[in-house]
């Protein structure tokens, strides 16, 4: 996808340029106690997510993500923690089996499902996608078209992010 190719180097550059110094800062500040390790994880996660949000300016999801992250930081500032921007990881995992079920059902009875039921399933999936993408339930992504465009950019940026992180770890 051409826009993705154009976006990649700038995204990767921005991402690394934000994340690497942030990580070194964390490294400097963190004390080697166990308690802090958990916090360090959260902080690292925060920085990683923030790097994603800042590297992909101009999308509804990136604005929403940044906003959410800053809110989280404010809320948890006293504790020094920050949470993943995803709906709580536990919830996140719990909802997954639910998602696979309708998928299996759908695969078995694909052709025999009547249209309204298929539309319902689509709606289910779309609402689920809205939970996955930051800002999916917000006012910016009310119509399905926007949602799908944002999904496209979000998926590309996630891929890039995974690439960068993996590269960073690979030669450590």
């Amino acid at each position: 996808m051409d826009p993705r190719k154009i976006m990649q180097p700038s995204f990767t550059a921005k991402y690394v340029s934000y994340l690497v110094p942030a990580l070194t800062n964390i490294g400097k500040q963190a004390s080697p106690s166990v308690g802090r390790c958990i916090d360090a994880e959260k902080i690292v996660r925060y920085e990683i997510d923030m790097a994603l949000a800042l590297s992909a300016e101009g999308f509804a999801w990136s604005h929403a993500l940044e906003h959410k992250l800053r809110l989280n930081v404010d809320n948890h500032n006293h504790a020094g923690k920050s949470q993943s921007y995803l709906a709580h990881d536990d919830d996140h995992r719990n909802t997954m089996p639910v998602n696979h079920e309708p998928a299996a059902k759908k695969l078995k009875v694909d052709r025999t499902r009547s249209e309204p039921e298929a539309a319902e399933e689509e709606e289910e999936r779309l609402t689920y996608l809205r939970k996955l993408i930051p800002g999916g339930s917000g006012e910016m992504m009310v119509d399905d078209e926007t949602l799908l465009s944002e999904l496209g950019s979000y998926v590309s940026c996630l891929e890039l992010q995974v690439n960068v992180l993996r590269s960073m770890l690979q030669f450590n």
């Binding site: 990767t12 490294g27 996660r45 998602n99 694909d110 496209g152 891929e159 590269s167």
Partner: protein
């Protein structure tokens, strides 16, 4: 669209038949909103009036080009079907104009097209039509005798544009206004129709072709346009998400997208945990990457030879430390694809360490401006792009794992 062909083939093409005309006129009256039939009638008439056309029409039907002749139907306004009462008159004119070869199909098309422009006029100006018809003959000749649908498709917009230009010339300013009102007229007038129909093709509007049995009211048209946009976006997503080529159907696609997004998010989570672990315990490895190792890069950015950090990158408001990391990271991207990820990794991690050591600080030189170099970065693009494909390959590899086993990240 074969059903349209069938209806055509069932028509009587043997010569001009007044009874046929009358029959068709009657048909027109009580099938008012049936554009396709009307167009069929037009074509039938033309074919019947011009026996020499039979072969052409027949061949067109066979090749499916007849369908293309219907394309002008999209110009038909639903507006005033009284105009079609004049059709026999036009048909008679077709008969009169036998001297003009290849007139009727083009004329039919022209008729349809001019119908567009005059959709709000109650009185059909057949003489004007005739002028336009003659003007359009050559164009339509080209299009109907074109080698294939594609050529017709290509020429059609030209014909349309020409036609509209001519309309303005011949009929005056009122024309364009009439045209702009057409589509709204149509949606209003056709609000109750449920038979097969088509919408006036308006360059200003999103044109949607109604299929057989679909309603044509403005709501459903807008709905259809929206659905087409959505299906377009779904196709784009299909390109993005690996392993979706065989999946048809929106729900399946959405399912795949959900799985992919979740997989990516899980990967990010896992990687972040790893990085957090490494960050606290181990410093990122240092690998110094001198510029001379990357001749291609240096060639692209001659200034780089002098400086450890690279110019030619977008200006990101970076401090010198960050600039260094960005430089080296992009620097690495010149490397061959298989080492792209390695390069990026080593560069980025090395810089983080370098930035800490005082000795490296002396190597860094602040840049006042960075020039965006799209040319130079194009090579970076392809190389970096390869690295993302690695993610996708791995995703496909663990796709089954995700589906059938408990989640295991293998990064």
């Amino acid at each position: 669209m074969l059903h349209r062909l069938e209806s055509l083939e069932s028509c009587n093409y043997n010569g001009m038949d007044v009874a046929v005309l009358e029959r068709q006129a009657a048909r027109l009256k009580w099938q008012q909103q049936n554009y396709v039939v009307q167009n069929n009638n037009l074509v039938e008439l033309c074919a019947s009036s011009m026996p020499q056309f039979q072969g052409l029409i027949g061949s067109n039907i066979g090749s499916g080009q007849m369908v293309q002749l219907k394309r002008p139907e999209v110009f038909l306004g639903s507006g005033d079907f009284q105009e079609f009462v004049n059709f026999p008159v036009a048909g008679a004119e077709f008969g009169d104009s036998e001297k003009l070869d290849l007139v009727p199909p083009e004329a039919a098309a022209d008729y349809c097209i001019s119908r567009t422009s005059s959709c709000q006029m109650t009185a059909l100006n057949t003489s004007v039509m005739k002028e336009e018809r003659e003007d359009m003959v050559l164009e339509k000749m080209e299009s109907t005798t074109g080698s294939g649908r594609e050529s017709f498709n290509k020429r059609k917009p030209e014909a349309v544009a020409d036609h509209k230009g001519k309309n303005k010339r011949i009929k005056g300013e009122g024309e364009s206004e009439v045209k702009t009102k057409c589509s709204t007229e149509i949606s209003r007038n056709s609000s109750k129709e449920n038979s097969k129909a088509s919408e006036v093709q308006k360059l200003d509007y999103i044109h949607v072709r109604a299929r057989r049995g679909q309603a044509t009211d403005s709501h459903s048209l807008a709905e259809r346009a929206r659905r087409e946009k959505i299906s377009m976006k779904m196709k784009c997503l299909q390109d993005l998400v690996p392993g979706c080529n065989k999946i048809t159907g929106k729900a399946g696609m959405l399912d795949e997208i959900i799985n992919y997004v979740q997989s990516l998010q899980r990967q990010v989570e896992f990687l972040s945990m790893k990085i957090a672990a490494l960050n606290s315990s181990v410093q990122f490895n240092v690998e110094n990457l001198p510029m001379k190792e990357f001749p291609a890069y240096v060639a692209n950015f001659p200034a780089a030879a002098k400086l450890p950090a690279m110019a030619g990158l977008p200006y990101f408001q970076l401090n010198p430390l960050q600039k260094e990391s960005v430089n080296c990271m992009l620097n690495e991207s010149i490397l061959p694809a298989q080492t792209a990820t390695e390069g990026i990794a080593s560069a980025s991690v090395s810089i983080s360490e370098q930035s800490l050591s005082s000795s490296s600080m002396t190597q860094l030189q602040p840049f006042s401006t960075w020039n965006m170099d799209p040319q130079g970065s194009s090579s970076n693009l392809t190389v970096i792009f390869h690295s993302s494909s690695i993610v996708r390959v791995e995703y496909i590899r663990i796709w089954h794992l995700i589906r059938y086993t408990p989640d295991t990240d293998t990064s």
